[in-house]
């Protein structure tokens, strides 16, 4: 088990290093130097422009910039936003929170509902429940999440006018418990959209996992022991079928951040997704690079968590 963990952690570290290097190269081969962005309309003297270039370390050949970049990144120095002049780390830190408020509940809802539906659909394969949930899941899976969000805006925002929209909280935000409630009401529609967008996949995967399990020998044994259908499902089928879904949850949690980009931009949600979008619009490369690094890091970390959870749940891994 210790060897397994060590191997996985090392692998993740390697991928991370790779991503950091890729990040470095990608944003340096991009057209558009910081000087274009900063110098415009500020009529800098040639000397000042040179100073700016030196300031961003762009005057040295690329390979020489690598160690400095890596060291800075490791120390948590991701540079300064070209547009606002603030440090990228503080810009990112401000935006992480709203995204978590959006993504975490959405994942929890979609996983719990999806898994529950998947279990029942898979257990009663071919039944009405099965056909209904598979059909609904396929439709949800096929729906572009942004468009789904717009439809919810039409229904709840324009027709019913139930939820406050367009942002993270009222402004100025109320105090104390009222603040939490305020953020929650604002979060409701985007969270529901995101949850609906992801539910289909969980249903389908949980269902097929259940279907595979129903044919396993140990279920026949369990039935032979005289357990009720419900007990067989709950005590034997579900725990075994859950294995792939648990890793999937971790795995997709890393990616759900990316999925939040469209939802955040439609609901005007001031999280990392909207930041990415705005930074790209402004060609604010240090910020884009920071977002990129952060989201890659999250994917890698959650993948690692998926692998480790797999090792934890599946005892066979311990012996390897």
């Amino acid at each position: 088990m210790r060897g397994y963990v060590a191997r996985k952690v090392l692998g993740a570290a390697g991928t991370l290093l790779f991503v950091m290097l890729f990040n470095f190269v990608l944003f340096r081969v991009m057209p558009g130097s910081p000087v274009d962005t900063i110098a415009r309309n500020q009529r800098l003297s040639p000397g000042e422009i040179q100073a700016l270039i030196a300031d961003f370390g762009l005057d040295r050949p690329l390979p020489e910039q690598v160690p400095g970049y890596l060291w800075d990144t490791v120390r948590g120095n991701l540079g300064v936003s070209y547009t606002s002049g603030r440090s990228v780390v503080s810009v990112l830190a401000e935006r992480v929170w709203p995204t978590v408020v959006l993504v975490l509940p959405a994942t929890i809802i979609s996983v719990s509902v999806g898994v529950w539906l998947g279990i029942h659909a898979g257990w009663r394969r071919g039944s009405g429940t099965d056909a209904g949930s598979v059909g609904a899941s396929l439709v949800l899976y096929s729906t572009p999440e942004g468009w789904l969000g717009m439809m919810l805006l039409v229904v709840f925002g324009v027709w019913l006018g139930v939820f406050p929209l367009g942002g993270y909280s009222s402004s100025p935000p109320p105090e104390g418990a009222a603040y939490v409630a305020d953020v929650m009401t604002h979060a409701f529609l985007p969270v529901v959209t995101l949850a609906l967008a992801y539910i289909g996949e969980y249903v389908l995967i949980m269902r097929s996992s259940m279907v595979e399990v129903t044919h396993e020998e140990f279920l026949t044994t369990a039935r032979a022991k005289g357990l009720t259908d419900r007990d067989v499902r709950r005590r034997h089928a579900v725990p075994n079928a859950l294995l792939p879904i648990v890793t999937l949850i971790f795995y997709s949690f890393g990616f759900v951040l990316g999925g939040a980009v469209v939802i955040e931009s439609i609901f005007n949600w001031p999280g990392l997704g909207l930041l990415t979008f705005q930074a790209i619009d402004n060609q604010d490369f240090p910020v884009i690079q920071g977002v990129f690094l952060l989201s890659s890091f999250l994917v890698i970390a959650f993948n690692l968590a998926a692998d480790l959870s797999y090792g934890y749940i599946d005892p066979r891994v311990h012996e390897r």
Binding site: M30, S142, G146, G258, V262, I280, V299
Partner: protein, 311 residues
């Protein structure tokens, strides 16, 4: 058409190659028979055939000039009427006409991007799985790393570097989505490579090239096919995502750019549901159709799943 009748018609195969051809033809007709039995698959194919026909017939069904903002003749933002069954947009263009033309671009992006992704993915997967060793190690690392790179930020970054043209949208989707195909193909290659019939052929003195092209590749086709059909669905959704972020090609009409235009023009507050609904529903329908076909294919072609369903 029974499989047996073909054998009779073909007579006794004269060579090994002819035998293989017969075997494949039989497999194909068996596949066709199985596929016809899948209700899901048939519905999917039905939707796709209709969509494809509409897309191809767009110039016949409608006047392309009507899709140009400058020459639209309809009233502005008119609700559905007999003259404009799905109403009109901000420029007085018929939403029905736009939706029909949008099918072309959306399908084109779906097919072309998937073609790119499938070719990269298959080459990388087969090469890695078949050659093995250090090559495999490197290719696998690259694929794994493309899998962990967050898709949307990368696609947005690439789209904004390359600029918003249709070709670039296709390229961006293609090069960011090959990794899962590569992984799947590699795994399948490994298992085919070690299967008894390949071992046997190798023992009989088949060359590596013969093994790769005659045994490994044909056996990968089912996997690649099912995966590709599912990937088209994803590519169409990806195009929509990029368009909704304003990174689509503004001068080509796709369902994604239609939704984006409606959204930024305020169709939600303005209550122009007829502008927002058709392209969205079209995407759902087509993506659903590809997904259903893909699942049907998977069910038939994946021996493991198939054994289960027979039981």
């Amino acid at each position: 058409m029974a499989a047996g009748s073909e054998l009779v018609r073909e007579g006794i195969p004269r060579s090994a190659r002819a035998a293989a051809r017969v075997r494949r033809r039989r497999a194909f007709s068996a596949f066709r028979r199985d596929y016809r039995r899948s209700r899901m698959g048939m519905i999917g194919v039905g939707i796709l055939v209709v969509t494809l026909a509409v897309a191809l017939l767009a110039p016949v069904l409608t006047d392309q000039r009507e899709t140009q903002e400058a020459f639209a003749t309809g009233p502005v933002l008119a609700p559905p009427s007999s003259a404009y069954p799905l109403g009109t947009d901000l420029y007085g263009r018929s939403v029905l006409t736009l939706t029909i033309w949008g099918a072309r671009v959306s399908l084109l992006v779906g097919f072309a991007a998937t073609a790119i992704a499938a070719s990269i993915g298959t080459s990388v997967g087969v090469t890695g799985g078949y050659v093995g060793g250090r090559t495999d190690g490197i290719l696998n690392a690259v694929a794994n790393w493309f899998l962990v790179i967050p898709w949307i930020p990368l696609a947005i970054a690439l789209a904004s570097i390359l600029g918003p043209t249709l070709l670039n949208v296709i390229i961006v989707i293609g090069i960011t989505s090959w990794a899962s195909t590569a992984r799947l193909v590699r795994a399948q290659t490994l298992s085919v490579k070690q299967s008894p019939f390949v071992e046997r052929s190798r023992a009989l003195g088949g060359s590596e090239w013969h093994l790769a092209t005659r045994h490994v590749l044909p056996n990968l086709v089912p996997v690649i096919l099912a995966n590709t059909v599912l990937a088209i669905a994803l590519a169409i959704l990806s195009e929509t995502t990029l368009s909704l972020l304003g990174l689509g090609d503004p001068s080509s009409i796709s369902w994604g750019t239609m939704i984006y235009e409606a959204f930024i023009a305020g169709a939600i507050s303005g209550g122009q549901w007829w502008w927002l609904l058709p392209p969205g529903l079209a995407i759902v329908l087509v993506v659903l159709a590809f997904t259903m076909c893909g699942y049907a294919l998977e069910e038939i072609l994946n021996p493991r799943l198939r054994a289960r369903s027979d039981r």
